[in-house]
């Protein structure tokens, strides 16, 4: 157990740039853009030569309970958007992390150093799996949540500058509820992503070079051949089934993929919809689908294969 903790720490050390700094800098960029927006608004307002769309003070005094509730939901939406931006970043970070996880050290031969230590190959591969499943997503979510708190503070201060109390609107939002719901998506997404994690680790540990090419080309060729078989009237798999399953192999690590596969979020959000769609019962509901567990089995098999290659691949 102690060794496993250190293996996770090792992954963090090596990939801190992707796991921590990428989400941090993205969040900073969003905050800076927000500040720039506020400053621009203020400058134009002070110059007074631009017609403002609204007057904060008047807006506030005219708001009724329904408006406040809607404004609160807008904040919830903002929290989801901020987290989603980091989710996109996380997707790219994880994709290349997993492709390199069992390949980079073979390329620079440092695999010989890792293999000189009393660490089993199973523990090594599993530490990389857990890093992709939980560690990186949890760090990204923590950064997103802190970033959202900073954003709330910024908005509150700005409103206060104009004598407007933003607290009722914040009280109408559900930052904790949202954070809890987003947290729940992490383990569910992690299980949903297992075939993708396994797929990328498999190529990372098995090929002599260019794992990216193999991981991407094999599915693309499979889809193309299947479509061609279809066009020729030969036996083939229904193309949308093919695309969604093969797509899951390649894109399954995108946070929220599990939840989207349930058909949520496809038609945008309406009033109050976000909290409902992200309700724990919906999020956890994915666990009751056969697709989830078939994927877990496929992922486990691929990870097993990756461990075998890690043990026996001989690059001399």
């Amino acid at each position: 157990m102690k060794t496993f903790t250190w293996l996770l720490k090792r992954e963090y050390w090596e990939h801190r740039g992707g796991f921590l700094w990428a989400p941090v800098w993205t969040t900073c960029a969003i905050l800076i853009l927000t500040v720039m927006g506020i400053v621009t608004t203020e400058v134009f307002r002070i110059r007074g030569n631009v017609q403002m769309f609204f007057n904060l003070g008047r807006l506030h005094s005219e708001m009724d309970a329904g408006d406040i509730a809607r404004a609160g939901l807008t904040l919830d939406y903002g929290q989801l958007v901020l987290t989603s931006v980091l989710a996109v970043v996380l997707f790219f970070v994880l994709f290349f992390y997993l492709l390199g996880a069992l390949y980079d050290d073979r390329r620079d031969r440092s695999v010989l150093f890792w293999k000189s230590l009393p660490i089993s190959d199973t523990a090594t591969v599993l530490s990389k799996t857990v890093t992709a499943m939980l560690m990186a997503p949890l760090i990204a979510l923590a950064v997103a949540t802190v970033g959202y708190l900073a954003l709330l503070t910024l908005v509150t201060l700005w409103s206060a500058l104009h004598g407007v109390n933003a607290l009722p609107v914040i009280a109408a939002a559900h930052p904790l509820g949202m954070a809890w719901r987003l947290l729940l998506t992490v383990p569910v997404d992690a299980l949903w992503a297992l075939p993708c994690i396994g797929w990328l680790l498999f190529w990372s540990s098995s090929v002599r070079s260019k794992p990216f090419l193999w991981a991407v080309l094999v599915p693309v060729v499979a889809i193309t051949l299947n479509a061609w078989f279809g066009a020729m009237g030969l036996p083939h798999i229904d193309s949308s089934t093919m695309t969604s399953n093969v797509g899951r192999l390649l894109l399954g690590i995108a946070p929220g993929a599990a939840w989207q596969a349930q058909g949520f979020g496809h038609h945008g959000f309406h009033d109050g919809d976000i909290m409902e769609q992200l309700a724990p019962s919906n999020v956890l509901g994915t666990l009751a689908t056969p697709e989830m567990w078939i994927g877990v089995a496929v992922g486990a098999a691929l990870i097993g294969a990756a461990i075998w290659f890690r043990r026996w691949r001989d690059d001399s």
Binding site: R109, S110, L117
Partner: protein, 285 residues
């Protein structure tokens, strides 16, 4: 002392190439064994088999364990340095030490830090900021701080200057080696390790062509400096090798009676390098 490594019928092929061809050997504890061979002779394959890094045919036991199935247990007692470039370049020196200390039950951190204190390696530095020589000093410090029973070195000083090479082997001998430990080393710089070896193994085309301790090597192989007039009688004794220096012929004999050779000229012990060259004649032809 029982054998630390025992191989019989050890074979390995890569496609059509035979890397190891039914090799048998035994290595006792408390020895420093040089495994010497030309490029592509099977040295690295043999080491990989011993370290459980590759599959093979035949029997092999290392510290009583099967490296294929019990690699994990084996690595608690075996250390190896593959070559200079294998420490992860992104890691900081302090991280490497923390990590090895955490995962290796036989690592003595204080000892490692003591070795490093004698070098210019700084804790904050990343491996990629170190010179090749400093990387090997770091690796050596890590390995010497691990109380392992078998240390395997595969070209550990490749590409280092002579100062680093000398101090590498000197540290090994003075601060690390004792009767409880066994060192197996391959290198092309034979002349630099010859004085520290207790045993010599030559490997050629996947076969062990010489396996003897250094005393036996000294008894078996004799070099004679012969004046031109005795050259023909020396040739009649079927020498392994003949070369000429300053108008004298130097013959290398295997297993010829010493007293008889002394009548031909000045007798001396051949260097491992000369022995190697003579034994491997025609390898690349």
């Amino acid at each position: 002392m029982s054998a630390v490594i025992k191989a019989s019928g050890l074979s390995k092929r890569y496609g059509k190439t035979v890397a190891l061809d039914g090799v048998d050997f035994e290595i006792e504890g408390g020895r420093i064994v040089g495994l010497i061979g030309p490029n592509g002779a099977g040295k690295t394959t043999a080491l990989k088999a011993i370290l459980g890094l590759t599959d093979f045919q035949g029997e092999l036991s290392v510290l009583g364990l099967d490296p294929r199935r019990q690699r994990h247990e084996l690595m608690q007692q075996v250390c190896f340095i593959a070559d200079v470039a294998v420490l992860p370049r992104w890691m900081r020196v302090a991280q490497v030490i923390d990590f090895v200390g955490a995962v290796h039950p036989r690592f003595d951190r204080a000892k490692c830090e003591r070795f490093l204190a004698r070098t210019k390696v700084q804790m904050r530095q990343r491996v990629k900021e170190l010179s090749k020589g400093m990387i090997v000093q770091l690796h050596l410090a890590l390995v010497m701080a691990i109380d392992a029973r078998l240390l395997v070195l595969d070209e550990p000083t490749l590409g280092l200057d002579i100062l680093y090479r000398k101090s590498f082997y000197q540290s090994l001998l003075e601060d690390y080696f004792d009767e409880q430990k066994t060192i197996l080393v391959t290198t092309h710089q034979v002349e630099e390790i010859e004085h520290i070896l207790t045993d010599l193994m030559f490997i050629r085309d996947g076969k062990i062509v010489l396996d003897a301790d250094m005393d036996a090597v000294g008894e078996r192989f004799v070099e004679v400096m012969v004046n031109a007039e005795h050259a023909d009688s020396a040739r009649a004794l079927n020498p392994l090798d003949e070369r000429q220096i300053f108008g004298k012929n130097i013959f290398l004999f295997d297993g010829v009676e010493r007293a008889r050779l002394e009548t031909l000229g000045e007798v001396r012990r051949p260097s491992v390098a000369d022995l190697f060259v003579a034994t491997m004649k025609g390898t690349y032809a």
